[in-house]
């Protein structure tokens, strides 16, 4: 009791010396970095919107942006852990290609020809995805084992992996593209069918808002248990309100993007529905790959913030020797991080091959750079020990916004690369400046 009261008074005393902005930040416990990133995103979106003559901030473009971001965003969450641990994974793009090929060949050829599944059978996608995830897990475990137990630097192991898995992806079919993929598997790529529609999207939004409310109330009751100082109520309401508004707004955008006329007509014909005069408005709603990315983001945030494993990853990144002396099995933690990375790569491979409706040996080429850039722009320190999942996902969104914005503007790809490269360097420089000041 006396501890808590003295803490509160000390905090109060310090609070009186702060300016209004600092006081606002303290009350809301917001992170300036995160605000800066959101600000950069808003700025980029606004500029692109004007330059493209009003094409960028449309439901159609934003919906596509969300689908395009999901694959890199999923891998970026794993890369955060890898980099926090003072390692790097250069092989994710090649692994994505290899795992994509494995899943493609499995569903389009092996399961049909060898195991006698008939086309379109519902188990096909489950088996393909399951085997893909297992492949990713095994490759990640192999990388992790060599890095943690044989003590070969991660840079070298995954540089080798970059070459090996790209080569292996070619070997699966001697370079031939596998297409088309299983109809159910394809849903992971988005598109009109691979979206959950307006009704379910609103349901997800409501669940999300309830989740936000639950987390805030739970946090308060936990701190009350020990009589720790609480966030002011206005700050809680403001934060919760903003979070809920963002969720509802995103779903509203996804629900404002209708199916194309042709698909609506075919859909109506197939069900014998009359298409009315002005056309039928069927909303896409949230795309399945986006839903998967959000789910991965939630799980990974939970893992990093609320589990022992997550705590150990950060402690090792901060001081590997101290973590070892504290009795943490640092090698096993390292190996697990690479295993998680492998699983996430497999999920991304499923999404990107489903989106292409084909498995090619070039799938995911250069993705390692986008993934690392997303994590780093999102505030993951290459020195280790610092980074957030949400930051990396926002970083992925930022990179993808730039890229698709430039496509929208008709900028050709060499210049796109120049811009993306420059943005990466500038973003990290700004971050360095920021870190020095705080």
């Amino acid at each position: 009791m006396s501890d808590a009261t003295s803490a509160t008074t000390a905090d109060r005393a310090r609070e009186a010396e702060l300016g209004p902005l600092a006081r606002f930040l303290k009350a809301t416990e917001l992170d300036i970095r995160m605000l800066g990133m959101l600000g950069a995103l808003v700025l980029i979106w606004t500029v692109l919107h004007f330059l493209s003559g009003g094409l960028f901030l449309t439901p159609r473009n934003l919906w596509n942006l969300s689908v395009q971001t999901s694959s890199v965003a999923i891998m970026a969450t794993g890369m955060v852990l890898v980099i926090v641990l003072r390692n790097i994974d250069l092989s994710v793009g090649s692994m994505e290609g290899f795992v994509g090929m494995v899943m493609g060949v499995l569903q389009a050829q092996i399961l049909i020809r060898v195991f006698g599944f008939s086309l379109g059978e519902p188990w096909i996608w489950v088996i393909a995805l399951g085997c893909g995830i297992l492949t990713g897990l095994i490759i990640g475990a192999l990388h992790g084992f060599i890095i943690a137990y044989l003590e070969v630097p991660a840079f070298i192991v995954t540089l080798g992996g970059l070459l090996i898995w790209r080569g292996a992806a070619w070997w699966v079919t001697s370079g031939q593209t596998v297409a088309p993929l299983d109809a159910t598997f394809q849903l992971m790529g988005g598109g009109p069918m691979g979206s959950i529609g307006a009704g379910w999207s609103w349901a997800v939004a409501v669940a999300g808002c309830l989740g936000v409310a639950f987390l805030m109330l739970n946090g308060r009751s936990q701190r009350k248990r020990f009589r720790f100082p609480l966030r002011p109520v206005w700050a809680e309401v403001l934060l919760g309100g903003v979070a809920c508004a963002a969720i509802l707004g995103a779903v509203w955008v996804a629900n404002s993007y209708p199916w194309p006329v042709g698909i609506v007509r075919r859909y109506a014909e197939a069900r014998g529905v009359e298409v009315p005069e002005g056309g039928l408005f069927i909303a896409h709603g949230i795309a399945i790959p986006v839903l998967m990315a959000v789910a991965v983001g939630i799980v990974m945030t939970f893992v990093t913030n609320r589990t022992r494993f997550g705590r150990y990853v950060f402690a090792i990144g901060g001081n590997p020797e101290a973590a070892n002396l504290a009795g943490i099995n640092t090698r096993w933690v390292t190996m697990k991080v690479f295993m998680i990375m492998g699983v996430l790569v497999a999920i991304s491979a499923a999404i990107s091959s489903a989106r292409l409706n084909a498995a090619t040996n070039a799938l995911g080429t250069l993705d390692e750079l986008l993934v690392i850039a997303a994590a780093v722009i999102g505030g993951t320190s290459l020195a280790g020990g610092a980074g957030t999942i949400i930051g990396a996902m926002l970083g992925a969104l930022l990179m993808q916004s730039l890229q698709s914005g430039m496509v929208l503007l008709g900028i050709d790809s060499p210049l796109q690369n120049i811009v993306v490269g420059a943005v990466l360097v500038i973003a990290v420089w700004l971050d360095t400046v920021y870190r020095k000041r705080v």
Binding site: D3, A4, S6, A7, A10, D11, Q222, R223, R225, F226, F228, F302, N305, R306, T307, R308, R311, F314, A315, I316, G317, G318, N319, E321, A322, A323, N324, L325, A326, G327, I328, N329, G385, A386
Partner: protein, 266 residues
Amino acid sequence: MAEAASRSSVPLIDMRNISIAFGGIRAVDDASVDLHAGEVLALLGHNGAGKSTLIKILSGAYKRDAGQIFVNGEEAVINNPRDAKKYGIETIYQTLALADNVDAAANLFLGRELMTRWNTLDDVAMEAEARKVMGRLNPRFQRFKEPVIKLSGGQRQSVAIARAILFNARILIMDEPTAALGPQETAQVGELVRQLKADGIGIFLISHDIHDVFELADRVCVMKNGQVVGTASTQDVTQDEVLGMIILGKCPPGAIPGPGALKIAA
């Protein structure tokens, strides 16, 4: 008197003929020390004498090349820090060994986190415990939410000490625990050492402050160039004699000479 009582019993820790070399350097060379329950043994010696290396072998941070460790008379298998903690050996390292990027509570419970019913980290409970134990050491300390890299040297040292006493150690190793502390905090650590001693905990205390050592320790063990010069009860030797052991390796009559004692003098 405390010595007479403890001598008859089995030592809590008995390290026999311990050796370790790094490359060509014999950092610890055939060193033997023992420690009894409720006793403070001060390890003394010049810089690089091998004190930290010797206790790091006990704490599982280094693997010895030769020698045996007995805990309560039974040979102990200590291959890593986890093993040592199982025997109730807690260590405050000279380098503090804190994870700089996480907060004080996370450091206190690193490797032994408190969990909720749902097997998730119970951060509030850990913060509450942290406030309690830090209150004993450094009542002015309030910065529980900040990464420890932002703390002062002395505050960091308090965190390292708090971590070692949090888990009911039976054997406490303190490698220069007060090097960065102010006079008041140092006095508090001295008080803490006396309390722990009264609770029957055995303490290895490494210090360069002879005055402090004579205040707190029951026995001193002096090392030089990796070897033990001699071991003595603080009642049987003077501070000047101990200084002679440290600087010249000269073993006074009140001490039991070790392999590192100056031969010609004897």
